[in-house]
Symmetry: C2
Subunit: 222 residues, 2 copies
């Protein structure tokens, strides 16, 4: 057989896509709703998930897989909500990959879960290129980051099913130009549902929970 | 000659290091002070540089090379200060590389500059691994990102000569725990000078300008 030259980047992406499809089958077989949450460092992913897991306790059986370069701070924070959390420490790798998720899931009891939340590495660039087998891709974007970010990080926004505008309690202090930001999100991510909220003040959380509950109800019954 | 197997990542990094050394010689031959500015998306790199170029106008002959995935918004903003600004649009590449800087510098009159500022792609992970030939690596870290970021993005902080804690005017509104943040910076980046400032209120800018003026004075005379 003749060897075929495949650009390295492309073959890695193709391998990831195949493994993501395997993850997706594994999740669907168990009727699991899976979120992949992307954002810049410090946009408030962990704060939102902490509060979500605590508020939905008793209603939803949830677990988290969380990616970080160097620490397990986030997994420790998230475990306090009572949900299992598996930490993936990526070293210098700037994103999670489908293979990492498959391995992390071996440490979870997937058969007895409704919701799996994957908290990606804090990075608006690299994670956007890697399907993990999720149902819903959530991009969290804080009001402190400025109105132009959807235009500057188009791959992440174009691939989002949901854009969460976070830290709305700081909108006034930061001089956040909400109409421009919503226009920019609408331009790059017309497909996405936009949810504005603050995990600190609680503002807007009910719409986020309603969205999750609706998606959980919409799952085909086993 | 026998082919030698070199891991792809390693050979790209080695090539970048060689080109960074070439850039460094080119800059040193012209007695140019070169900064490489790294941060998360929305930490305030462009706002700080806009204000810096405006305030130092007439004192320092400066130019900017700015990296972005998709837009030339930042170059347009920076040109308003009167300094030349060259935009590098990286597409899906999550960092600037030495070769991109070499090409961008062909569009600048390096012989008649004192200061070249490279504004990297907004990303606290990937840019940290790429020397561009700079003298000073500046990591900008905003109070809205939380106290734990130095621990979570160690490569960037370990390689910093200066850590700028930005948006200090929002410290109170965000409940920023300054002692913990400074302790975390000190632990990861004991080598770095820490400068706390707000480009919006102007607080702390004089120390930043003093630092730049000192480094410009310290250059060997041509």
């Amino acid at each position: 057989m003749d060897p075929v030259a495949v650009p390295v980047g492309q073959s890695l992406k193709a391998r990831n896509a195949a493994l993501a499809a395997e993850n997706r089958r594994r999740f669907q077989d168990r009727n699991l709703l899976v979120l992949n949450v992307l954002s810049s460092p410090g946009a408030g992913k962990t704060a939102l998930l902490e509060r979500t897991l605590t508020d939905l306790k008793g209603q939803v059986r949830a677990a988290v897989v969380v990616g970080d370069l160097a620490t397990d701070n986030d997994a420790r924070r998230l475990r306090r909500s009572g949900s299992p959390a598996v930490q993936i420490t990526t070293g210098t790798i700037c994103h999670l990959e489908a293979a990492m998720i498959a391995r992390a899931c071996d440490d979870l009891d997937l058969d007895h879960l409704d919701l799996l939340v994957i908290e990606n590495v804090g990075n608006l660039v690299c994670p956007a290129g890697y399907d993990l087998g999720e149902d819903v891709r959530v991009v969290v974007y804080s009001v402190t980051e400025g109105e132009d970010k959807p235009l500057k990080y188009p791959t992440a926004f174009k691939s989002a099913h949901v854009v969460v505008v976070s830290k709305t309690d700081l909108a006034e202090a930061t001089g956040f130009d909400r109409p421009t930001a919503l226009e920019n999100i609408g331009r790059l991510a017309p497909q996405a549902r936009i949810l504005e909220l603050s995990a600190r003040s609680g503002q807007g959380l009910e719409s986020w929970y309603d969205f999750l509950r609706q998606r959980l109800r919409d799952r085909p019954s086993r």
